[in-house]
């Protein structure tokens, strides 16, 4: 089996089956595709699966039925979206995975789909851990982790990346790791509770910025000084997080950019031109700290 070719034409019918729209990151990503559609001459079909992998497959099905030319798929889950990838391939539609990938055991880049555009969640967690090890000054650190939605792949990967890396430094002990559902309110509530059980916390690692902001609020409500007695580290690079870094309340956030539209357009054009596309078009995730937060905040979402 070889990849379906993509002919070069004026306009393309493009499918973008978004998985959910319940957080700012997803909304920014969807917007990025809508904006790109204009610039890139796409007739964009964008759907929303409301957080269900099964619905996302059904959405892909309806796009195949409508005869799209290209599919940009952000797979909600690694394994359940494989059927969608295979169906698109069978229908002769070149597929690019966006921001998350699928299980490499059953679907391969260059065979079932063209390429994966995105960053590496495990790596994001690892980079947060490395920064923390480098920048934490004390000789003992009690760490609290606020996980993303239980069972979701970014939560699993960001936990794995961080846990593995932080374990290399004996100063750090993770005393609690609970889900905050990637949401500010839940993150705050969980942090409030964990703070009662572990008042000696030194580091809070949140799987996204929203929960990190929630944790900051919990600390402040309890009369603590985030940034001074407690170091907060996280992932995403949202405007609020950068502001918190500027204000000295947060240590670091590793970028996980949602603006995939332009990259998608460019990669598709390369593919249509017959270029060989690398299996993983890696996104360069920046790392925001006190050093560069101020200059980047205007571009943040």
């Amino acid at each position: 089996q070889s990849l379906p070719p993509l002919e070069q034409k004026e306009r393309y019918k493009v499918g973008f089956p978004q998985m959910e729209s319940n957080n700012p990151w997803r909304i920014a990503e969807s917007k990025s595709f809508v904006d790109t559609a204009e610039a890139c001459n796409w007739d964009l079909i964008s759907t929303d699966a409301g957080g269900s992998a099964a619905k996302q497959v059904a959405d892909v099905d309806s796009m195949i039925a409508q005869g799209i030319d290209v599919l940009f798929l952000p797979p909600r889950e690694e394994k359940p979206l494989i059927p969608a990838v295979k169906k698109a391939a069978a229908a002769g539609i070149p597929t690019f995975l966006v921001d998350r990938s699928v299980d490499p055991n059953n679907a391969k880049a260059g065979v079932d789909y063209v390429s994966f555009l995105g960053s590496d969640f495990i790596d994001q967690g690892r980079r947060v851990a490395e920064w923390t090890i480098e920048n934490f000054k004390g000789d003992k650190a009690v760490v609290v982790q606020l996980e993303g939605t239980t069972g979701s792949s970014p939560a699993n990967d960001r936990k794995k990346g961080f846990d593995d890396a932080i374990a290399k430094d004996p100063r750090f002990t993770i005393v609690a790791s609970q889900t905050g559902d990637f949401a500010r309110d839940k993150g705050r509530q969980v942090m409030e509770t964990l703070l009662q059980a572990h008042p000696d916390v030194d580091v809070v690692y949140a799987h996204n910025d929203e929960m990190a902001i929630g944790a900051i609020q919990a600390l402040e409500l309890a009369g603590r000084k985030p940034g001074e007695d407690v170091l907060i580290v996280s992932i995403d690079g949202t405007r609020d997080a950068l502001q918190a870094i500027i204000d000295g309340k947060m240590g670091v956030t590793v970028e996980s950019s949602p603006f995939f539209g332009p990259l998608a357009c460019e990669t598709m054009k390369r593919y249509a031109a017959g270029e060989e596309i690398e299996p993983w078009v890696q996104v360069k995730d920046r790392i925001f700290t006190q050093a560069n937060a101020a200059e980047n905040i205007k571009d943040a979402y």
Partner: protein, 330 residues
């Protein structure tokens, strides 16, 4: 004829733990959970623990009280979470508008008043569907459950709205006598609702409708109006809870505000002694139910129980609490 022969003579005042369990199942459950926490959970006996729990439970309690009223008429309201999101989305739009920034005091007042009006309008919508069009409550309120949050996101373009407005935030972060403002608010609402249910004609009609709607109608009760009013009250309280959540977070997240609140609120109401077929409105029971659910959540979190295991534990505790409650009916 005397009624005496109908009352058995043997009612010695002995302490009967079975009876206590039957009549005060909810309280017993509360005591058990408290006892467990005091023994096991680190730093449980601290003022800050109380503070945290009150500030977290207030929203559930406030919504659960509204839900209790709706349930008392034999209805149910699935739209509470969506109404929270809607009210919460509107508030920052108002005080962050040009007008709101020009007249800050008026802006904040409007930012509280107007969302509550919208929430009441949602309640009116539910109430009209249920009482005038006779749509079954679960379905009637499912409409706003599905679309209410969508409307909230439309208003905000899906964006998270963050803000800094200490006046507005007071309803979520203020303190009175060292305890959270919203806790006092919940207590005040409970007192008012308790008075309404036990002392007013409106309250009596609420219970009568839940007990036998046809009989209430045929006795001249304003059944339609009472039912609509109950959904409006529930809507208003949900809206209030939505504002509190937004105020605490200094951010309005239309996608998440009030997510799954309907289940927590219903569970709290039932754990507190409400009967889903209607006819009972234990207002303080709803608070008790909310506190139990909150404490369960707190206990599991504070003791580091994994999320998935916590779900199972929560399930068992809800069943146990309701089981103790139900024993009373036998």
């Amino acid at each position: 004829m005397s009624t005496q022969s109908y009352v058995s003579g043997s009612s010695k005042p002995v302490f009967n733990w079975k009876k206590v369990l039957k009549n005060h199942g909810g309280l017993v459950a509360l005591v058990v959970i408290l006892g467990f926490n005091i023994l096991v959970t680190p730093n449980f006996l601290q003022l800050q623990t109380l503070f945290v729990n009150i500030s977290q439970v207030a929203t559930i309690a406030i919504v659960a009280m509204g839900m209790t009223l709706v349930i008392a008429t034999g209805g149910i309201d699935l739209s509470v979470g969506a109404i929270m999101a809607l009210a919460g989305a509107i508030a920052p739009l108002i005080f962050q508008s040009e007008f709101g920034q020009m007249y800050p005091a008026l802006g904040v007042a409007l930012a509280i008043g107007f969302p509550l009006l919208v929430a009441m309008a949602c309640g009116l919508f539910n109430g009209v569907l249920v009482s005038v069009l006779k749509v079954q409550p679960i379905i009637a309120t499912l409409i706003l459950f599905i679309s209410g949050r969508g409307i909230a996101q439309m208003l905000t373009n899906g964006n998270l709205q963050t803000f800094k407005n200490p006046n507005f935030s007071y309803i979520g972060t203020g303190k009175i006598l060292g305890l959270p403002f919203q806790g006092w608010l919940a207590i005040a609402i409970a007192c008012v609702l308790f008075w309404i249910i036990s002392r007013t004609i409106f309250g009596r009609y609420v219970l009568a409708i839940g007990g036998n709607e046809r009989a209430a109608t045929l006795s001249g009760g304003p059944v339609r109006r009472v039912k609509i009013a109950v959904y409006i009250i529930c809507g208003a309280l949900s809206g209030l809870a939505g504002l509190i959540v937004v105020a605490i977070n200094s951010a309005s997240d239309a996608a998440r505000n009030g997510d799954l609140m309907e289940l927590d609120a219903i569970a709290a109401a039932v754990v507190g002694g409400a009967l889903l077929q209607g006819g009972r409105a234990p207002i303080f029971g709803a608070i008790l139910g909310a506190v139990i659910i909150q404490l369960v959540k707190y206990t599991l979190l504070a003791n580091g129980v994994e999320d998935e295991v916590a779900l199972i534990a929560k399930a068992l505790i809800i069943v146990a609490a309701v089981y103790i409650q139900q024993a009373r009916k036998e």
